[in-house]
Amino acid sequence: MELLKAIALGLPMTLLVTAVALGIGSIVALPLLAGLRSGKTAVRFLTRAIIDLLRGIPPVVWLFLLFYGISAGSFRLSAFGAGVIGLGVVAGAYLTEIFRGALGGIKAGQWEASEALGLDRFTMWSKVIGPQGLRVAIPGFTTYAIGLLKDSSIVSTIGVAEIVYLTQQSARTSGQGITVYFIAAAVYIMLSMPIGMLSRNLDIKMRKAVAR
């Protein structure tokens, strides 16, 4: 029980890292998405190169580069800052692909109808294309979010006190190596299962509303 308490203390940090990284990723994904859809070949090529670069470097290497590599004068990224930025930019690259796939699932007629009606670009994206794209993106997005929830444990390597970091600490101090990791595993399952169920419910509900 004591051990569970000690490990569960890391829970808010795990959730925070995951949420902030997803937020950064979603923001990073938007310009990348626009770049991939650009009419200019050079812009598409450059965007593709950036995405491959972001994805091509393992997250743990990103974290070390950001945490130990970036310092300007007395400025250094905090472990938390380096953690969420590192996970966030990698998430951005993957989410770009998820969003792009979702847009690809929208029928050409939706764009054509918006254009023929004379809707401005903002209205077209915010009212017609965006909402439909988000619906299609939900399963892919939550799958990535659950993956990130678990992968966020790598920020323990630079000393962010989330679940795995506290688990390792407990393992050292209590001497009950295997037990603490079982507890950590249980905590992660308790976290990810409801997210999965929520996502599926949401998906089914939205499909019902617009079923063709």
């Binding site: 007629g109 254009e115 023929a116 004379g118 809707l119 401005d120 509303a209 617009v210």
Partner: protein
């Protein structure tokens, strides 16, 4: 073009004027120098074999397809396709031309009412109440008032197409473009849509209709335009063309359609 537009004889007598429109996809020529004039309050039916360029011509009229060159004029809003087209020039042209698609293209995530009201709010600046009032009025005219709160997926194809017509009409277009409006519908259901189109025509709406419905083309349209191989090969009074086609290509097409 300036001289034509200011000529008192022609001003006000042409709702749509297409001049020397040309379009090609690479080597494949879809439209070769097509010119067409449509008088206000008339119904023009575009017929012809598939691949003739009918839909492309229609889609060029509101710039859903970008022609390579030529001029388009709808209700004195003029666009020269060989020059850069600004959004500012495009908006009034699209506003005066409503479009109805083969596959309806309603927004599936909005209720029927929102489908019709949202464009009014965004394009005409109507309040939600004003827009909804107008939408309900149009839905009632289509006999679909009870569908307002439904999603499009709960409506039949014929109902969806009538909703799409209402959505376009709600913006007060001066010309309506129909791109094979009944081709995706069962014949029985298509009749509902054709009835609505007949009423619109009787009300004096200027309509250009790409269609395979020969009955509609013959009995409702004022002008029949026969296209083949990217050009207009014959046009004029529908009954005369049906009875006595001048062009061999028209004869062949009509024979094929009527024998089916």
């Amino acid at each position: 073009m300036q001289s034509i537009a200011t000529d008192p004889l022609t001003t006000g007598q042409t709702a749509v004027r297409v001049t020397n429109l040309a379009k090609a996809y690479g080597d494949h020529v879809v439209l070769r120098d097509v010119s067409l004039e449509v008088a206000p309050g008339t119904v023009t039916a575009l017929i012809g074999p598939s691949g003739a360029g009918k839909s492309t011509l229609l889609r060029c009229m509101n710039l859903l397809e970008r022609p390579d060159r030529g001029q388009i004029e709808i209700c004195s809003h003029r666009i020269d396709a060989s020059k850069a087209i600004s959004a500012k020039a495009l908006a009034p042209l699209r506003r005066s031309a409503g479009m109805v698609f083969q596959h309806f293209n309603l927004f599936p995530h909005m209720t029927v009412l929102r489908n019709i009201s949202l464009p009014q709010q965004r394009i005409l600046g109507r309040s939600r109440e004003e827009a909804d009032t107008k939408s309900m009025e149009l839905l009632a005219r289509m006999g679909l008032a009870d569908k307002a709160k439904q999603y499009p997926s709960r409506c039949s194809g014929g109902q969806q197409q009538r909703i799409a017509i209402a959505r376009a009409l709600a913006l007060g277009p001066e010309v309506m473009l129909f791109d094979e409006p009944t081709s995706a519908l069962d014949p029985e259901v298509g009749v509902e849509v054709l009835e609505v189109m007949k009423e619109l025509a009787a009300d004096g709406m200027t309509m250009i209709v790409v269609t395979h419905e020969m009955g509609f083309a013959e009995n409702v349209s004022d002008t029949l335009v026969v296209m083949a191989d990217g050009g207009i090969i014959e046009q004029g009074d529908p009954q005369r063309i049906m009875r006595d086609p001048q062009h061999e290509r028209t004869r062949r097409f009509l024979r094929a359609v009527l024998e089916r």
